[in-house]
Symmetry: C2
Subunit: 196 residues, 2 copies
Amino acid sequence: MAVDREHVLRSAADLLTRKSTATMDEVAKAAGISRATLHRHFAGRDALVRALESLGIEECEAAVDAARPDEGPASDAVRRLVRELQPAAGLLAFLYGESQLWEGEPQNDGWAHLDARIGAVFQRGHHSGEFRVELTPAWLTEALYGLIASGAWAVQDGRVAARDFPTMVAELLLGGALRRETSHVPKESSRDREIG
Amino acid sequence: MAVDREHVLRSAADLLTRKSTATMDEVAKAAGISRATLHRHFAGRDALVRALESLGIEECEAAVDAARPDEGPASDAVRRLVRELQPAAGLLAFLYGESQLWEGEPQNDGWAHLDARIGAVFQRGHHSGEFRVELTPAWLTEALYGLIASGAWAVQDGRVAARDFPTMVAELLLGGALRRETSHVPKESSRDREIG
DNA sequence: TAGAAATGAGACATCAACGTCTCATGTGCG
DNA sequence: CGCACATGAGACGTTGATGTCTCATTTCTA
């Protein structure tokens, strides 16, 4: 009976990832509930997007936690990060596009916290000498979001296989960020394969 | 008297890059004309976006031409390409986001032509052994668009300096695509500096 | 200069999405 | 069983953007 708020948000995320301009009616239908009920749980479109924003931040924070960003080489941390972020990639792509519209509005500062955590990984890579200093942490963070969004869309349109997503994103990003002498990009250490 | 169609399109591109949901009224104001006149030149919002699409394709094609994609090392071709594409980056970012909405609609197949030309550069890099084969040309092309869009937004929000745009985008992209033994990224050859 | 053409300003109807509301139905719980 | 509550369906008014139209004004041109 009681609507599963989580399920509604997941459905909305799925739909809005594919069609960011979807109607409240479409969102409701996608979740299998009526528009009235949708409005009972989310005061309006804004409230829904805010909720999705919170969900996205939660998922990303959880992904960063799971990626153990402070452990081992920064490059491995980035690989883990991309892998952990993949489930949230679609939602992230939607929110990344949406964020271009919030001009001066009081946006959720959860993003700032997330940016800082991710930026710290790149910064760590700089200090350890793993990453090239020409590319700033801020830009690498931005590029990570951008590549994840591009990857999510490419997967959705069938231009990239879902199973290749982590490799495509992480190896492209790292190749640019990683300073290394050899052309061989190491496989992920076996320790990092327990999940994938 | 006669409205400068080019100027209207430029203004619209500038505005829509910053605010993709801008109203026809806002577009008109940004171009310094009345909404009525805007409608006289572009039958509606769709027509305007179509025109912007054509403009974007034109500019990209011109940029690819100017980048001499078949000359010299593929990596240098990519650097030239990014540099030539920078002026169109904002428009490209808008259209890239917009393209996520056209599901099955008959989109301008000028994009296919452009994709093919850009993809060919990466393919050339694969065949010559410059680029890593793990990253497909299709993905590299997608990533190029994504990074240009990310770069355009980062510049607009002041997170990246405009003058650093070509370096940030090209070096990140190439570092991932380029197979090289040394960590030193070569400066652009002096031949390529005549424009920048 | 006079006519033709283009523009600006604004009125107007239309339409789609929104948000609110009501009422009947169905489900869970005491 | 009977009550309370959540839902579904749909009506309703509102809003914002769109597209069309008119008319006075300005600008170009013959």
